[in-house]
């Protein structure tokens, strides 16, 4: 009988691993330890349709409770793993030692916080889990004016959703464009314009230095330029920090994430890590170590680990992809643009359907698409197969990129 698999973290990666192990006909015991009080749920709706009430709680669970029973997966809720001993192959949960033959760290990430967030008044939130989203959803019902700090994906998704629900929304972003670390300037410009047209006040090169409050409830923000702005709710979306503490404490190397090899194995041979908490060398990033925060990465890394545990290891080679729904616009990304030195635009930007093809020399590295699923899907295939359309072909909407595959 194969040995027990202990999974730390019931998020996207943890659940996918349970599914993939049973699909690979793994016969050993599987236990899933979850810090949260909830059965694992989908996170993407939390910053989109969920906060305004368009998606209900019953749509969130990734699998029904009966799934775990049917597949003989022992789920423990409210059960954080507090330490790991890799020499004894044991993890500690609530003071009890639990043995494993394979341990998988799928602990995700937590929101980065601003200095003043620790003793913030009521009405100030981060957005990572269902409990955050429930509070934001409840707060939005009586909210007139929302301040979002950080124009990353989650901040902009939330801003668009709240604005569509009739809330006055102001977004503060320190950089000179939105989603600056992730997309080409053209895409930033497009989204700045669409959010503004919808009524969101986007302030670039602007930051919040403190809060105003009355009766323990936030009432406004102090801006770095000395002005103040009334707000009855503030959401901070300034990125995340990987949850690496268990690995560090166990003596496993971490560097912006738990370091793993191409099989998602850490330097301890029976310990794996995947998803938002893990850093790996990615062939689509010129082999550099990256930590990807996406459904795709969590899912495909979990599949990679399942294959190893089930005895048929396959390296992690999947093309990275990501999406972000902002209001009625869909941004889709394929590949990684870290090393790009030029880009080409394709499509109809005025009409709101276009893509940006990122190149290094002649090599296609990544494609960001706005409302253009066709380009996105072709891009996934092109990048996977290392086929680079000529830049003239990429820029010519009349050229059928599919013909290259």
């Amino acid at each position: 009988m194969p040995g027990p698999v202990l999974i730390v973290g019931g998020g996207q990666a943890g659940v996918q691993l349970c599914m993939a192990l049973r699909r690979e006909k793994y016969q050993g015991a599987i236990s899933l330890y979850c810090e949260e009080p909830e059965y694992p749920y989908h996170r993407p709706p939390l910053s989109k349709s969920y906060v305004t009430g368009a998606t209900d709680d019953d749509k969130l669970p990734m699998r029904p409770e009966s799934f775990y029973e049917k597949n003989a997966i022992d789920v423990y809720l409210n059960a954080p793993v507090t330490s790991v001993d890799i020499h004894r192959s044991e993890a500690s949960v609530g003071g009890t030692a639990v043995g494993y033959s394979s341990l998988v760290l799928a602990t995700g990430a937590r929101p980065r916080r601003l200095d003043w967030q620790n003793d913030a008044p009521a009405g100030v939130f981060s957005l990572r889990d269902l409990s955050d989203a429930r509070q934001i959803r409840a707060g939005l019902q009586n909210c007139k004016s929302l301040v979002v700090i950080g124009a990353g994906f989650i901040g902009l998704e939330l801003a668009a959703a709240a604005c569509a629900a009739g809330v006055q929304v102001t977004v503060f972003e320190m950089a000179d464009r939105v989603m600056g670390r992730a997309v080409a300037p053209t895409i930033s410009t497009f989204f700045e314009a669409t959010h503004r047209a919808a009524g969101v006040d986007i302030r670039l090169g602007a930051s919040v230095s403190g809060l105003e409050h009355s009766d323990g409830q936030v009432s406004g923000v102090q801006c770095a330029d000395g002005t103040t702005l009334a707000a009855d709710m503030v959401v901070v979306g300034i990125g995340v920090t990987p949850n690496v503490e268990l690995a560090e404490q166990a003596g496993i190397s971490c560097d912006n994430g738990i370091l793993v090899d191409e099989h998602c194995r850490t330097e301890a041979s029976s310990v794996f890590a995947c998803g938002d908490c893990a850093a790996h060398r990615n062939r689509f990033a010129g082999g550099r170590s990256v930590r990807l925060e996406s459904i795709q990465n969590a899912t495909d890394q979990a599949r990679t680990i399942a294959a190893s545990i089930a005895g048929e290891p396959k390296p992690y080679t999947a093309v990275p992809w990501f999406w972000s729904d902002q209001g009625s616009h869909k941004l889709q990304m394929a590949g990684l643009a870290f090393d790009a030195d030029s880009y080409i635009e394709r499509g109809d930007r005025e009409g709101g359907r276009f893509s940006i093809f990122h190149y290094r020399g002649d090599k296609l590295l990544a494609v960001d698409s706005v409302n253009e699923s066709r380009d996105h899907m072709v891009a996934r295939k092109l990048i996977e197969a290392a086929i680079s359309p000529g830049q003239d072909q990429a820029g010519d909407p009349g050229f059928d990129l599919k013909s290259l595959i």
Binding site: R23, I295, T299, W323, K330, S373, M377
Partner: protein, 106 residues
């Protein structure tokens, strides 16, 4: 409540009392139909909720461009009745529907 039969690639049939108003994918997941993965949770991004329906199935919504593009890249063969189950809302007209599932979803 329409009765829907999911037929797994190995021929196993799972008959479910489906809920109208939610997607076919959600009905499959709620009933532990293994042949549907749905990693993106119904965002029309992953194509791991592929299924085969009869061409003349009643009650089907028209396929949108996104779904059509996604179907171009499914892991198992695309056939005339191919759909993404997350893009189909179950209605009472679908009583008796047969949903065939592919062998591979990714």
């Amino acid at each position: 409540m329409p009765k829907i039969t999911f037929v797994e690639a190995d021929g196993t049939e799972i008959v479910v009392e489906a809920r109208s108003g939610i997607s076919l994918m959600e009905n499959a997941i709620a009933n532990n139909v293994d042949g549907i993965e749905a990693e993106c949770g119904g965002s029309c991004m992953c194509a791991t909720c592929h299924c085969y329906l009869a061409d003349d199935q009643a009650g089907l919504s028209v396929m949108q461009d996104d779904e059509d593009e996604m179907l171009g890249f499914v892991a198992s063969e695309r056939k005339p009745g191919s759909r993404l189950s997350c893009q189909i809302t179950v209605t009472d007209d679908m009583d008796g529907m047969q949903v065939h599932l592919p062998a591979e979803q990714n």
